[in-house]
């Protein structure tokens, strides 16, 4: 196992250029995703989905007479406790040697269990082929020592790629700096191993509440209660079998 690799997206230096979106699509041959003027500021992508693995959100705020325009490039969080991975029945989703979570397109059968399992709404099925797609953290590139496409392109180093431990250290320092400058609402998101997904492999520095950016405030891995659920499911299954048996018996 290599070191755990990840993304630190520092939204305080994001200029919303969307280079990450295009670089990602170009490298990964992700199809274009429709031509809709959404009216969500300059965001016409809308959200992460099967055909959008990086998504830049634009949030316009007015505080008294001052305008603030927040921009943030969202991506799969590559959770420590990944719901999508837990529920995948085919082994299409797997955890790589970099501790990232990747879908194997040649294995995925399009069952779609992973889709509701993601607390962030990231993973999604493509309409045409039915399979599930999401950010791979450019698994092919990083296996060869390259940087993922989005982080390679990012003009302002808003997207940083590296060993997660290093990124966390860097992020802590950056947060301190911003707090010292009076950015009191600045916070790290997905940084803590104690959060609901056990910490994210791709985490963020935000300048406001996560919900403002369309991120859940306290994401919890959907499979957290899985053992208990299995137990309950087991009881239910026994009951069903019993019921079925009873019905057969009854018919007889």
């Amino acid at each position: 196992m290599s070191e755990r690799m990840g993304f630190f997206t520092d939204t305080s230096v994001c200029i919303g250029c969307k280079a990450c979106e295009v670089a990602c699509k170009t490298w990964n041959d992700v199809p274009a995703d429709g031509m809709d003027l959404l009216g969500m500021s300059y965001d016409n992508t809308g959200s992460l989905n099967a055909n959008t693995w990086r998504h830049v959100a634009f949030i316009e705020q007015t505080v008294e007479d001052d305008t603030r325009w927040l921009m943030s490039s969202d991506v799969c969080k590559h959770c420590t406790e990944a719901g999508c991975l837990d529920v995948c029945p085919t082994g299409a989703l797997f955890r790589t040697e970099f501790d990232t979570v990747v879908v194997q397109a040649d294995v995925c059968n399009g069952c779609g269990y992973c889709v509701p399992a993601c607390p962030f709404g990231v993973i999604d099925r493509r309409e045409d082929d039915g399979r599930a797609w999401k950010c791979t953290l450019c698994y092919d590139r990083i296996r060869d020592g390259l940087t993922p496409a989005c982080a390679t392109a990012c003009p302002t180093e808003s997207i940083q790629y590296g060993p997660l431990d290093e990124l966390r250290e860097r992020a802590d320092k950056r947060l301190e700096e911003l707090h010292a400058k009076g950015e009191k609402d600045a916070r790290l998101y997905g940084r803590s191993p104690d959060d609901g997904v056990g910490g994210a492999g791709a985490f963020f520095l935000l300048l406001d509440e996560p919900e403002i950016y369309g991120l859940p405030e306290n994401p919890v891995v959907t499979t957290r209660d899985l053992p208990a659920m299995w137990k309950r499911a087991g009881v239910a299954a026994v009951a069903v079998v019993a019921g079925v048996a009873a019905s057969f018996l009854g018919k007889r």
Binding site: I15, K18, M35, T62
Partner: protein
């Protein structure tokens, strides 16, 4: 800058991380504003007032970098006693001819040094709009207009007629309150900017100004830049690291396209095209146009070397080096003038080479009427652009103004090669030439533009090879042999670069100082001389940045002479010492007897700081060791321009041609020397248009869209034409977010989806509320992402110096709903025209 030059903006972000303060001044709140320390919304078309306010602040509070100003600028020069300022003449400078709408520059001259007007011909100075319009000012792309000698000076800067005092009086009324009234910027906010800029300039600190076409596309565009130059020169921010006025150019080689121009008024290296009345022969050409001092004093050598490059052995001293082969100008032959000639039938053929004027030029209808009246049109592009399809789907077909079956234009569409399919060099926004290598062959019939012109030249030359007509001599004698490569017969771009670089008796030249007047040297573009020094393509150098100094002199090649900061002699004090350790760049190394530093000195390398020229010296030998502005005839930065400009020696605020507001400074409302283009399809707006409108770009698209609206990955990011309005304007006009709006001027009406956003802010100018409508201009009817073309609503009126159109400030009306179709659309516009 973040919006249109995101990767360049990484350096701004890097500076910010190190404590630099970023101020963004713009009519709209952009991606740049989002990460700036201070955003200052401003009324489009009012920047001279803002910058003039800063100049006034500097002068009033004694914030100028005095030692720099006295030594390196013309602040001390005394001006002719006949000079009258706009403050004396209610908005006019002395010398204005109200009949011809032109200035006679004579009274703007230095005292004691009769300013040589752009051309010696008095007719050219005093009258004849056509003559002045030969855009002589634009050839100043590398140095100011010639003046004949050094002026009388008052180094105390106290003389009432010295430039410094004239400047002080001229800008005295540009107070914070006046800035507020003209620009809609509250006085306290203006003062915050003024304090920040002045505190960050001087010995230890420098401030940089960055601009783009938001400053150039005005009827006073050149004067916008001049105001910035005055401010930066007063603060000592020119020729020094971290300073400067940086033009953020929007196309890969737009700098190169003026250096080696495809522009009507200049030859390569900013040598003017000869004018029929002034330049009867080579002697009159170089005598009248070359400054007698400074490096332009060698214009004869530059010109002869160019003529030798083009006509080779046929160019001899006896025949004036074929000077007579050059066609002559008689006035404005710029692109908008040409369009009018197309409409009146005089201009019958047209080449469009990677350009889409049906979308990208102001007043698209005018453009398309021109295209529709041609005999033949050649379009070269990657994709099927609107300028090639106007005859079947242009807006005039829809309105019934044009009918496909009645358009006689013969159209050739020739597919072009992409940058990956050809060798060649781009010159970027900092004068840096960078070579791109061919990676693959172009597909199908696609060819490079180099291939097209080389083979067209071969064909044409073949067809006239036996012609006895003397007009064909320049073709017959033209040097036109370039190595052909590969299966397509691609001419070698490197061999063309070799011709541009030039040769002497000993082979490739390495510097323009080697050029001679006797015909022994050839050089296709003197400022590029050295790009192939030693026979090596210096533009292709790619020593990794990490392995070089921060100046990175071994990456590509910058003109002139690989200098990265121009006029860098000014980074040292008059004695040749760095102004400060922190801002050390180029300095005099007395022990070595030469200038040293991280960059190539923009100065003669061994001329000591205390050098005093001999009386009567010529060219660079007439400049002293502390004259850093070596392309200027007097070696000084011009706070006041005693020659060279068509509309005044000092910038002053005029309203845009189309403005809902009166000029609070003078009864002279607009630039009195601006250039108008009279045509029924180009009417100017009257009073029926209450709102200010401006156009701009988005990160996701590129100019007129040919290279972005055709690509799925970019189109989906900004899929449709939209307008941006404030919530207040939306309420006033009943506009709904994501609904449709129709934007109307006296030219036409267009429709756009509406984005209501607080990023557009109504401004207050005195008692008036200013509403601005923002229009990104990338769209047209073709491609994947479609919409009306914003440029269609703009009129054509231009800066008199460079003929660039005013497309960044105009007036419009806006109303909810889609625009009418067919005749109803024409009726709507007609109704507005009637209203005034």
């Amino acid at each position: 800058m973040a919006e249109c030059h995101p990767v360049g903006f990484q350096w701004v972000m890097a500076a910010k991380a190190r404590g630099a303060k970023i101020i963004h001044i713009d009519p709209r709140f952009t991606r740049t504003s989002a990460v700036s320390d201070l955003f200052v919304p401003i009324r489009a078309g009012s920047d001279i007032a803002f910058l003039g306010g800063l100049v006034n602040y500097v002068l009033r509070h004694g914030k100028e970098f005095r030692e720099y100003v006295v030594a390196y600028t013309n602040a001390a020069a005394l001006i002719n006693e006949d000079f009258r300022d706009t403050e004396d003449l209610d908005g006019l400078f002395s010398g204005y001819d109200p009949e011809g709408h032109v200035y006679d520059h004579t009274s703007w001259a230095y005292q004691g040094a009769e300013a040589q007007a752009l051309a010696g011909d008095p007719e050219d100075r005093t009258g004849g709009r056509r003559h002045q319009e030969a855009a002589q000012a634009e050839k100043r792309g590398s140095g100011g207009a010639p003046v004949s000698a050094k002026p009388d000076v008052d180094l105390t800067l106290e003389h009432p007629r010295c430039v410094f005092q004239i400047l002080k009086r001229h800008y005295a009324r540009y107070t914070p309150e006046m800035v507020e009234e003209i620009c809609g910027v509250p006085a306290p906010k203006f003062l915050e900017v003024a304090e920040a800029i002045t505190a960050n300039s001087g010995r230890d600190r420098t401030t940089a100004l960055c601009y783009a076409v938001g400053w150039t596309q005005h009827t006073v565009g050149v004067q916008y830049i001049r105001t910035a130059s005055i401010l930066q020169t007063l603060l000592g921010n020119i020729g020094r690291p971290g300073g400067g006025i940086l033009a953020l150019r929007g196309h890969a080689s737009i700098q190169g396209s003026t250096d080696i121009p495809t522009l009507f008024n200049i030859l390569p290296g900013y040598i003017p095209m000869p004018h029929a009345r002034q330049h009867l022969d080579l002697a009159s050409f170089v005598a009248r146009d070359a400054g007698r001092t400074g490096f332009w004093g060698n214009m004869d050598a530059y010109t002869v070397s160019l003529l030798k490059a083009w006509w080779g052995e046929h160019a001899t001293a006896e025949n004036d080096f074929c000077f007579d082969y050059l066609p002559r100008l008689t006035g404005d032959h710029g692109t908008y003038d040409t369009v009018l000639r197309q409409i009146n039938g005089e201009c019958k053929g047209y080449f469009l080479v990677g350009e889409n004027p049906a979308v990208g030029s102001a007043n698209g209808k005018l453009q398309r009427l021109g295209l529709a009246n041609l005999d033949w049109l050649v379009v070269r592009d990657l994709q099927m652009i609107e300028s090639a399809t106007f005859w079947r789907d242009g807006p005039e077909i829809e309105t019934g103004e044009l009918r496909t079956e009645e358009i006689g234009t013969e159209v050739f569409f020739l597919p072009a090669a992409a940058h990956t399919e050809k060798d060649g060099s781009f010159t970027n926004t900092q004068r840096l030439l960078q070579w791109h290598h061919k990676a693959v062959e172009p597909p199908g019939d696609a060819r490079s533009d180099l291939w097209f012109y080389y083979h067209l030249g071969k064909l044409v030359r073949h067809k006239v090879r036996a012609s006895p007509d003397p007009r064909d001599l320049p073709l017959q004698h033209l040097t036109w042999s370039y190595a052909e490569e590969g299966p397509l017969g691609e001419p070698s771009a490197d061999s063309v670069l070799a011709e541009i670089n030039g040769n002497g008796p000993d082979g490739p030249l390495s510097a323009y100082t080697e050029l001679r007047t006797d015909g022994s040297t050839t050089c296709g573009c003197w400022i590029y001389c050295g790009v192939r020094a030693g026979g090596v393509n210096q533009a292709a150098r790619r020593k990794p940045g990490q392995e070089q100094t921060w100046v990175a002199p071994e990456w590509g090649w910058a003109w002139p002479a690989n200098r990265r900061i121009i006029y860098n002699r000014a980074s040292a004090d008059p004695a040749g010492r760095p102004w400060s350790e922190r801002k050390k760049y180029i300095w005099w190394d007395a022990s070595e007897g030469r200038w040293a530093g991280a960059d190539v000195p923009d100065f003669e390398p061994t001329k000591p700081p205390d050098f005093t020229p001999e009386p009567g010296a010529k060219a660079q030998h007439a400049l002293a060791g502390d004259d850093p502005f070596i392309m200027q005839t007097d070696g000084k930065a011009w706070l006041f321009a005693p020659a060279g400009l068509a509309d005044g020696p000092l910038p002053t605020h005029y309203e845009p041609l189309e403005s809902p507001y009166s000029n609070p400074l003078y009864s002279q409302q607009v630039n009195p020397a601006m250039q108008r283009y009279e045509h029924p399809a180009n009417p100017y707006n009257g009073s029926a248009f209450p709102y200010v409108v401006t156009t701009y770009r988005l990160t996701e698209h590129h100019t007129a869209g040919g290279m972005s609206r055709t690509l799925p990955y970019l189109s989906e990011l900004q899929p449709e034409f939209f307008c941006e309005v404030s919530p207040e304007l939306a309420t006033e006009r009943g506009l709904e977010h994501l609904g449709w709006a129709t934007i109307i001027t006296s030219r036409t009406a267009i429709e756009a989806r509406v984005l209501v956003t607080r990023r557009m802010k109504p401004l207050r100018m005195g008692g008036q509320v200013v509403h601005q409508v923002g229009l990104p201009y990338h769209w047209g009817p073709n491609g994947l992402s479609m919409g009306d073309a914003a440029n269609d609503i703009l009129g054509v009126a231009a800066d008199p110096n460079v003929h660039i159109q005013e497309s960044k400030a105009a007036t419009c009306d806006i109303r909810p709903g889609r625009r009418p179709r067919g005749q109803a659309m024409l009726d709507l516009v007609e109704e507005y025209r009637r209203r005034g």
